[in-house]
Symmetry: C2
Amino acid sequence: MTEAGSLDIFLRGARAQVDEALERYLPRPPACPQVISDAMRYSVFAGGKRLRPTLTLAAADAVVRRAGRLPDGTELPAACAIELIHTYSLVHDDLPAMDNDTLRRGRPTLHVVYGDGLAILAGDGLQAEAFGLLVREPPTLDTDIQARKLRVLGVVAAAAGTGGLVGGQAVDLQAAGQGAAHTATLRAEDLRNMHASKTGALIRAAAVCGAIMAGGDDETVDVLDHYAADLGLAFQIVDDILDVEGNTAELGKTTGKDASGAKPTYPSLYGIERSRVLAADAASRAKQVIQAARLGHGWLAPIADWVVSRRN
Amino acid sequence: MTEAGSLDIFLRGARAQVDEALERYLPRPPACPQVISDAMRYSVFAGGKRLRPTLTLAAADAVVRRAGRLPDGTELPAACAIELIHTYSLVHDDLPAMDNDTLRRGRPTLHVVYGDGLAILAGDGLQAEAFGLLVREPPTLDTDIQARKLRVLGVVAAAAGTGGLVGGQAVDLQAAGQGAAHTATLRAEDLRNMHASKTGALIRAAAVCGAIMAGGDDETVDVLDHYAADLGLAFQIVDDILDVEGNTAELGKTTGKDASGAKPTYPSLYGIERSRVLAADAASRAKQVIQAARLGHGWLAPIADWVVSRRN
């Protein structure tokens, strides 16, 4: 079997496991009103790539594999919580007051179907459920696992908060408000910093939480953090390229939007060809750091290759 | 000194302690962008009553007082985190897509000053910071305190989530959308359930978290939960009465809005006089439950009296 074919099996398996767990973890009536359950599930089960939770599983797998142990599944709640945070951020980013997107993963965005008010609430609920899930699962009185859970809670809160997702989106919102005049003066460093918060922080958190729950030591956690920082950069650059080159049907979201909204992107700053090189370089660095730490025999390296070769 | 005068000293002291701690706990540049720091602080330091964090401090004080111990301050982060959750919920509830309020605590609401997009983000950020704060503070390697922190994190996540704040607001949003026709058929039980989630859950969490951090046993935590459930009910009924009777200048928010929006309220269902009796009964039950548990010598009983006698 080719490496790509083998990776495909892992990606599908991870997606299925995450979807099944999310279905169990998300609240249902009578624990919550029907309408908020429906709204949250509409966005959570919209057929996303599940990159972040897959990374959590792959990171945990690499750490236990190197230690000659078997995965114990304690990383699955962290994987799912991070996907809930990611989903909430998409729901809020799509709102008319933010990016005003009406199409996501080939379907109308949540606010188009349920209204802005309920979309705000569903996003708020997803964030709260993410933290609640991290506290509840896995249920344990083991003080080591409790300490890991607390550490993961801190990593996720930092990635979701004003130094991560929320901060990056605030900078993005301000940049978009300043329009084309801003783009012209936006430096490469600003672009990189914005994405580091807006996309990178949660991707890093995904890998880091996998390593923590798998019992990785500080050095291992640090390696996964570096790997994911470069992976996230590659992912973002490819996203920008696909936005220019792709078409709406293939990507399932409105394309060409970055340019029309005068948002800064890698292609607009560097051109397509140079952007491709930057993405490949970042993926290459990601692979090197895990190979140097003897964590290269699992799925982390193939995932880095997939991130730059993907077509959607 | 009268009991009311003495309570006033406690309330002012608690408010000052909470404000000072919030000032320390909230992120600042370079940990986050300036604009999101400014937006969060605009709403957090808008001169609220600080009922919830005060309850946390009073609950912890009552528990350690009964045990003949001194408070150790470990409840302060929980008090502040709950106030951040409360503030975020007000910011989002005030949005045009929700209650569309333009005045809060005597000042323009956050979205009026910073725009809807940044108000959504500031609310999102406050929620994330609340959980981050609960993880970070108090910094400790003590496994008992870590277990308490995890328990508090679970209580706050449940109160903030779809079974609490978010769920209650979703029901409220649906009821408002159905307008006057709905009010006519709304049963007293529905009204009580909506408020139990929307207001009650976080007020209960405030008292419960104080008891947990103070090392209270399960029975004590349960007593505080019952106390706060009745206190929250009394608080909500009085809020509804003040909305009918008060004026905008005194309350610092737009009054008469409940009736104009055809939202169900206690006065609209029971009339003013009967509503007053219901509030007094609830406060009385709250005092009885703590007195029966020998927790009546601190500030919890005077707070119950204050909640029904307050003018704003």
